[in-house]
Amino acid sequence: MSIAISIPHIFGTDFTQRVPWTVHIPFVVDRKFPRLEDTHLTTRNLNIRIGDTHILKDVNVEIPQNKITCIIGPSGCGKTTLLRTFNRLVDSIEGVKIDGQVNLGKQDIVAANAGQMSELRRNIGLVPQRPCPLPMSIYDNIAYGCRIHGVRGKRKLDLVVQHYLEAVGLWNEVKDRLHSPANKLSGGQQQRLCLARSLAVEPSYLLADESTSALDPISSKTVEDLFVKLKRDYSIVMVTHTLRQAQRIADYVIFMYLGEVIEQGDAKEVFSNPKHELTKTYLNGGIS
């Protein structure tokens, strides 16, 4: 008898009205997908050739957990290619050839088949260089990733959308126009929307490909601050052209030159006491 009374009671509860929801993060919002046990991202003897050009030469890196890793180096040194190898977006280039290993935990990203790729890419989010919302409403932009990974139900998605928009500080700005097109937002807002979109599928890693370079200084600062805040829960790999930005936020630095990793290590260590001659020259503005 008591069951018959309590069941309608539970289902009658309007979960969206639960206050204050930020104190109690609903289980459905950030535990939608199984977590990886081992999330170490490493490369072993990674070589990439596009046609006859040798883009990456014997790259061995290990991305530290819950830190901001900045990949620095002059233009054309393979920073972006390395970043895009982590989620296999390099595949879209004609004539690309990958040798070596990129491992996420026990899984080899280079050898992953189409089915594993989807799950791997969910675990490794990307924040693009130019803000690029999907051609749909603000709400659908966040919900898109969840939907393709099988999260359904309006109530659940409402909570997810609100949670991640709040996480990037966009909720108060857009809560009245969630169903209006995302292209109406400003550049900085669009970039935060892209960030929220990546976060909504619960990645372990965030790849940022010069994600602040197309933004105005204030929006750029907002996004940068967000990355610093987010490193508590995510490992962030960032390609940057601005050395100052790397000095501000990096915990770990990988310096690349002509497709090779010249030096990597703790940011303070590399910036204050570079071991390699090339690194010294680059840090002093000798190579650009």
Binding site: R121, P135, Y144, H149, S198
Partner: protein, 281 residues
């Protein structure tokens, strides 16, 4: 005055002249059709089937042709979109890393685009004879579909080529497969789909040669896919070739209906397009 400014004035005048020329043709075509057709056009004409002596000037209307045209074009548009949206998606998403295959495919439908509709008609006719089929609504729909698929693909592809790679990559990096990005691609090219549909309908509804051998002609409204059906262009053609002046006037009335349908379609298309393009990046 400076030489460059004089030259610019001359070119500007030429541009105005060509715009005026185009507008003149638009207005004069509509005017000449409506001048002869409108006085004859009556409710009876668009709402009733041809009577016994309709083609020698007796009572009746050409509802058979209006409905027949709508059946043929409606069926062909649906079939055409079902074929061409996947083609455009394949060309622009799956073939993107292999552009050489795309060149061959695009060349193929460019050739199809240039084939005159009478050739499609003859082709359809040959196939139908081979299978022992009679002229029918289905035959008309299939031939008109063949006719408009290249139009659909060509106009959608032009827009789909400009889809930013960033959008596709955003989809991939969230874990979507290439097939799952179709929701993104379709939203992005929605305005192009609307335009292509209208262009295709405009071309299809006015096409006489394709349906002449394949759909046939009939004085009644078809009730199944295997029956013959009339169409507006053929109705215009048959009445215009009659010797009686009043029958020729009725041809103009049918042409008025045809023109009005096309005008309404393209105007409503403008409105629909604006609505579709609100999400476009």
């Amino acid at each position: 005055m400076k030489r460059a400014i004089v030259i610019e004035k001359i070119w500007k005048a030429l541009m105005y002249a060509s715009i005026a020329l185009v507008l003149f043709f638009v207005v004069s075509v509509i005017w000449s059709v409506f001048r002869r057709g409108l006085p004859v056009l009556s409710w009876e004409m668009v709402s009733s089937l041809p009577g016994g002596g309709f083609y020698i000037g007796k009572e009746g209307g050409f509802l058979n042709a209006i409905v027949g045209s709508i059946y043929i074009v409606g069926g062909a548009t649906v079939l055409g979109l079902l074929v061409s949206i996947p083609v455009v998606f394949y060309l622009n998403v799956y073939l993107k890393p292999h552009p050489k295959l795309g060149v061959v495919a695009r060349l193929a439908y460019d050739i199809l685009f240039g084939i005159p509709s009478i050739v499609y008609g003859a082709f359809g006719f040959t196939i139908m004879i081979f299978f022992g089929l009679r002229t029918s609504l289905l035959g008309g729909i299939i031939v008109v579909t063949l006719l408009i698929i290249p139009i659909f693909i060509r106009s959608m592809d032009e827009v789909a080529k400009t889809i930013p790679q960033d959008i596709l990559e955003a989809g991939y990096s969230l874990g979507s497969t290439r097939l799952e990005t179709i929701t993104v691609v379709v939203r992005q090219i929605a305005p192009a789909i609307a335009t292509a549909t209208l262009l295709g309908i405009g071309r299809a509804i006015g096409d006489a040669a394709g349906v002449m051998f394949t759909a046939g002609f009939s004085d009644s409204i078809p009730t199944s896919l295997t029956q013959q059906t009339a169409s507006l262009p053929l109705s215009v053609f048959f009445q215009l070739s009659a010797p009686q002046l009043e029958v020729q006037d009725r041809a103009y009335a049918a042409a008025v209906v045809l023109t009005a349908i096309v005008l309404i379609l393209s105007l409503s298309g403008r409105f629909i397009m604006n609505r579709f393009s609100r999400n476009k990046i």
